[in-house]
Symmetry: C2
Subunit: 357 residues, 2 copies
């Protein structure tokens, strides 16, 4: 309680060397004689030295640049939220000379992604936070980063085989299971549930399949064959044709609910159902986008699962900045909880979007 923390000065004293030498062995930089090394190491073994991270940062004048690579926020509200998280984190760090540079690519064109990663790489950032939407291109780019020793944090969609410094996201399979659970609750047998991948670029839909598989898995495990699921890719963007497609679905009078696997698609489908005056179907989708929240409150959407892209990016930068600045190892995987949002608890989520740090 009264004992002050051990300082590197103390270690120097105990080991009978100068603080410069201690610093050198602590960070193994510069040259140290075998003898001095042993002396320092042995005293380090005896005491519990915890460096004062705060002081550390003062002494250094290094500035860090973090490159963030995400889809254009203007294209999609989900990514607009992600951008908010980035700006929050950036604001927190820029007074400590950790600068965040954002690079936006076109969500629907992998060439744009490819190009952007290359130009981002040329800026020689100290670290990268990236949403690796396009698998192959991302894989290639991240190998580049490994070669040039640039640490990177992945969020939203994982590429486990690349071993990022940290991955931030959700278990999408489980996410589908949660949707299925909420879908089936209190529903009468028999019934059909539709899984809709509403997505202009089928490119992205690889990870949407995880959600679908989780959804189907739930019923398999429960052994409820009277509940059927059917999946459908919807890449249609034209309003009228879309409406037709949904009307086709509704012909099945066993249809009890729809699970939409994308955040943007959620409000699209909700809008159509409202137009068709259909309020009985249970509708489950993703994310607290303003439009979705409206439909939730209107009663068209029953549940939203929150992927919290804002928080994901915030944490991504937080982890990377702490790693660069304070040498704090982040968790290899930071799986966010599968938050269930309803009409009654949505307000409690809207207020406290970002954790206080």
């Amino acid at each position: 309680m009264e004992k002050k923390n051990i300082r590197i000065k103390d270690i120097a004293q105990l080991a009978g060397v100068s603080i410069g030498t201690v610093d050198r062995v602590l960070h193994n930089r510069g040259k140290v004689s075998e003898e001095a090394l042993q002396k320092v190491l042995s005293t380090l073994r005896e005491i519990d030295y915890k460096p004062n991270l705060i002081a550390r940062t003062l002494g250094t004048k290094k500035v860090f640049r973090i490159a963030v690579i995400i889809p254009d926020p203007a294209q999609d509200e989900y990514w607009a939220q992600a951008h908010i998280g980035i700006r929050h984190a950036a604001a927190e760090w820029d007074q400590y000379d950790v600068y965040v540079e954002t690079h936006f690519f076109d969500l629907y064109h992998k060439e744009s992604f490819l190009q952007l990663t290359q130009s981002a790489h040329l800026t020689k950032p100290d670290g990268i936070v990236i949403a690796p939407i396009f698998y192959h291109e991302a894989l290639h780019f991240l190998h580049q980063c490994q070669a040039s020793k640039i640490p990177f944090v992945i969020f939203n969609t994982n590429i486990p085989e690349i071993h990022p410094l940290s991955f931030i996201g959700q278990n999408l399979f489980d996410s589908g299971r949660v949707a299925a659970e909420l879908m089936s609750l209190g529903q009468d047998l028999p019934g059909t549930f539709a899984v809709l991948h509403v997505n202009e670029a089928s490119e992205n839909s690889i990870h949407l399949l995880d959600k679908q598989r989780g959804f189907e898995h739930f019923f398999k495990v429960k052994n409820q064959p009277e509940f059927k699921t059917m999946a459908l890719d919807i890449t249609e963007t034209e309003e009228a044709k879309l409406l037709k497609q949904v009307q086709g679905l509704l012909k099945d009078n066993q249809l009890k609910g729809i699970f939409v696997t994308t955040s943007k698609g959620t409000s699209t489908i909700a809008g159509i159902l409202e137009k068709l005056g259909n309020k009985d179907l249970r509708l489950i989708g993703y994310d607290l986008l303003p439009e979705n929240v409206e439909h939730l409150q209107a009663g068209t959407i029953d549940f939203l699962i929150n992927q919290n892209s804002k928080h994901q990016t915030f944490l991504g930068i937080q982890h990377l900045a702490n790693f660069l600045f304070l040498k704090k190892e982040p968790p290899a995987r930071n799986l966010l909880p599968l938050e269930i949002i309803t009409r009654e608890n949505v307000n409690s989520y809207l207020g406290s979007a970002l954790p206080q740090t």
Copy 2:
């Protein structure tokens, strides 16, 4: 990008005074002539000075002591979780000479609380984090703290009229509404729902009523008179008698579900229902206590609303320490989201109990 942050030295230069003077006006300590004051204030107005909080802490050698006052963790798993959050926060801060001293009172004896607050007060802490379980005694104590200028953070149960530095908790009324929503989902009319306040000390039950009122409010608003609610205080601790009481409830064959307003009570009731072989009733309760999680996974409990006492205490200390150490004002109210936990998403919550900071 290249411009370094503004330092107090820069301000001094611009205002044509010494850094000592600038420091004095920034913290209005010591004496400053009107003229110097104006010079500094006007340059401050022109530039955007953000103090380097990291450097600030280095220069000061003050040690802070935070007193935390909570029920004995040994008495109740909910408070054991709270204690975990405290230890986490304490570990983070003790290298910066912010020390946390915990004081445990007896959850069932207000005298114990009274006594403990007094002895805690005698230790002259620099700040207090408290769960004000016993309203009147807490009110009195907190007035004392105000008189002796000790800042305090309240969590778990609010006492708004005392204006704490910060309150951390949930909206209990809304929490009841969420429970009602989950309770009624997909249930056939007509039906009865029981609200059980399972609580050895009815003392604490004042705030449980908020949950009940929220629960009832939901049905009132929905205008569903075929759904009836009935509330019951259960202070019984004897296993056999308790079982009798629940059996009595079950006689009502319109009973569709039970809402338990306490975390400990949740597993108690779940245990009884399991013993009675009743799996059809919908059971909703509170918190991710190990026993509750077991019953959730077993299927007896359908939903848990997470009050996250661990996070509450963690944030409480975090806010107070940041306030003392870095002079960061915390939010006056920090309402945590009303997390809905089910069989399918519980794992995603168990992993990531505490946010990374």
